[in-house]
Symmetry: C2
């Protein structure tokens, strides 16, 4: 039997604060028997929300904090001004002190990353957290990283990303040897940067717990060609945002087309069950949550503007990672890779 | 009155060769009074297609060539093996020799870029061609560059891209002072690479013929927030391919949703005029054509797999660029910028 989980929540993080966090926490409870929360934030505000959820109140410990990190604070500001009294810091610290198995925050991304790094520390060989996200495809969802934690990445870092993404795929989707693709560009003469070419060579040569499939291009992500897509953070973030923008653009075109004539409106009304299915399929709340990988603890960043359904998804991921022992698996895989790399250099 | 244009076509380029090239050329004729073509390739194959289009035949000169650059040839191979006898080289050379105002090829991108660079040469201060494309948005289409010509770019190069993209926007959309955004990522702590930050400073400080709007993120492209989106070629190519992949993914979801039940099928049938409008709006053939900017001549790369409608669009762009004197405008704007840059350093 799995031990009951404890998840720390930064109740003040996000555009809507405790209202969404508490409702999301209540929603996630039903998926995880024995789950307990530690809720960090203004206790008055939290308790007011807890009044709405009897079951949740019974399975939560509220820890009062006095400082909230602003959504638009610069990470350096967030680290200066009384950081140790903030709901974000306290929630992260709970993981460090063994009081929680994972932390979820919908707060300021830069501050969460900086605080996680300082409080929890990085695993050996890892410099900065990589941000991994779940990307819906026409097949099974894929994991894409780095979505913006590292701008630029050496070949070794890219291989670390592959291992971390594969460990995450194993934890969530239970794929023992996930397929991995390295994002690259298709213009022959200038094909790829040196780091990407070098990472390709290492991934082909090394014995790693992944099914390496070579280079893929941006249009292969949505086709679901691989389980894990690896790239550095600048292009990864641009790919993610561009995909989001394109999906919104298509939805806009569709709405316009369906209201362009009386007959179109009638047709859209008839086909409303189909459109509901489409809306459901394009619902990104199910995939809400950026995982900060490479830390000595599980940290999930929820989208700041999400609602309770999205927030509950982020909690689900935190639980699955904790159950799967994600941090230990990443630590072991990365250590093994770096050891073999050093071995190769010595031989 | 504008002088009659002459456009050189690499009739052998693309997945379908002369069949699509000739049909596309015939289709574009009606948009451009007095347009004349120089058709480079196997004269027997070309003439067989020309038999179908009497008007086109009267307005074309066929130049027989004996070598075709394979679509999958490496640029280095393409440059070695009898390059000067190929339809691609001869078509480019026509621009150099003043026999044509622009060249269009649907052939091998890497080879076209390498040959263009060697044959036509770069404008002063420009090292390699940037690939610019037209990106449909919910407002007016935007121009995005670089889509893969340069992997990585210094701050100065990024500003050159801004000027070249603005000149292209002026030529096609007749916007005198196009708005320009610099693509960047939104994660606070690691916001952008040094080159991008530096380019931002230069664009703010220098007196340039653009309306600079600062950083934008990937999701702003499709919203049509700016007329010109500037980035280096690796992230630009990934953004483009990811957007294409996402649009295909949405179309797939939509087809599935509309065939999920009898009522959905009936609704889709009623709304078919709306769906036709949607299909038309998502039709990328209207925007087919990557422009190689920074060369001493106009070179348009058509998508290799496009049909005659897409190919005709690429010819349209070539004509508009030639009429607008795009190369001279780019040369002047880039020269002025580099002179002011040098002046700043001296002062």
């Amino acid at each position: 039997m799995k031990p009951p989980l404890i998840i720390a929540l930064d109740a003040m993080g996000g555009d809507h604060g405790p209202q969404v966090v508490i409702a999301g926490a209540a929603r996630a409870l039903s998926n995880h028997a024995g789950l307990h929360y530690r809720l960090y934030g203004d206790s008055e505000l939290i308790n007011r929300q807890l009044d709405r959820f009897e079951d949740l109140a019974a399975r939560s410990t509220v820890i009062h904090t006095t400082v909230t990190i602003a959504m638009d604070a610069k990470p350096s500001q967030a680290l200066r001004a009384g950081r140790r009294d903030s709901s974000m810091w306290k929630a992260i610290e709970a993981v460090k002190l063994g009081k929680a198995h994972a932390v979820v925050s919908a707060g300021n991304t830069g501050a969460l990353m900086a605080m996680s790094k300082i409080c929890l520390k990085m695993l050996p060989n890892i410099e900065r957290p990589a941000i991994a996200g779940i990307w819906p495809t026409i097949k099974q969802p894929a994991i894409v990283l780095d979505l913006g934690g590292n701008v630029g990445a050496s070949a070794t870092k890219l291989v670390d990303f592959a291992l971390m993404g594969a460990a995450m795929s194993r934890a969530i989707f239970h794929i023992e040897k996930p397929s991995v693709g390295l994002l690259n560009i298709g213009v022959e003469e200038v094909k790829g940067v040196e780091e990407v070419k070098e990472a390709n060579a290492v991934l082909q040569a090394c014995d790693l717990p992944v099914d390496y499939r070579g280079f893929i291009e941006g249009n292969n992500i949505g086709k679901g060609d691989v389980d894990v897509v690896v790239t550095e953070g600048f292009s990864g973030n641009i790919a993610l945002k561009t995909a989001e923008g394109t999906a919104e653009q298509m939805a806009f075109y569709l709405r316009e087309a369906m209201s362009s004539s009386v007959l179109s409106k009638l047709g859209a009304f008839c086909a409303r069950s189909g459109f509901m299915a489409l809306k459901d399929r394009m619902d990104t709340r199910r995939y809400n949550g950026g995982s900060f990988l490479g830390l000595k603890g599980i940290v999930i960043k929820s989208h700041g503007g999400t609602d309770e359904i999205g927030y509950a998804s982020a909690i689900d991921y935190a639980c699955e990672f904790a159950h799967a022992g994600l941090v230990d698996r990443i630590a072991a895989d990365v250590e093994h890779f770096h050891a073999s790399l050093n071995g190769q250099l010595v031989d």
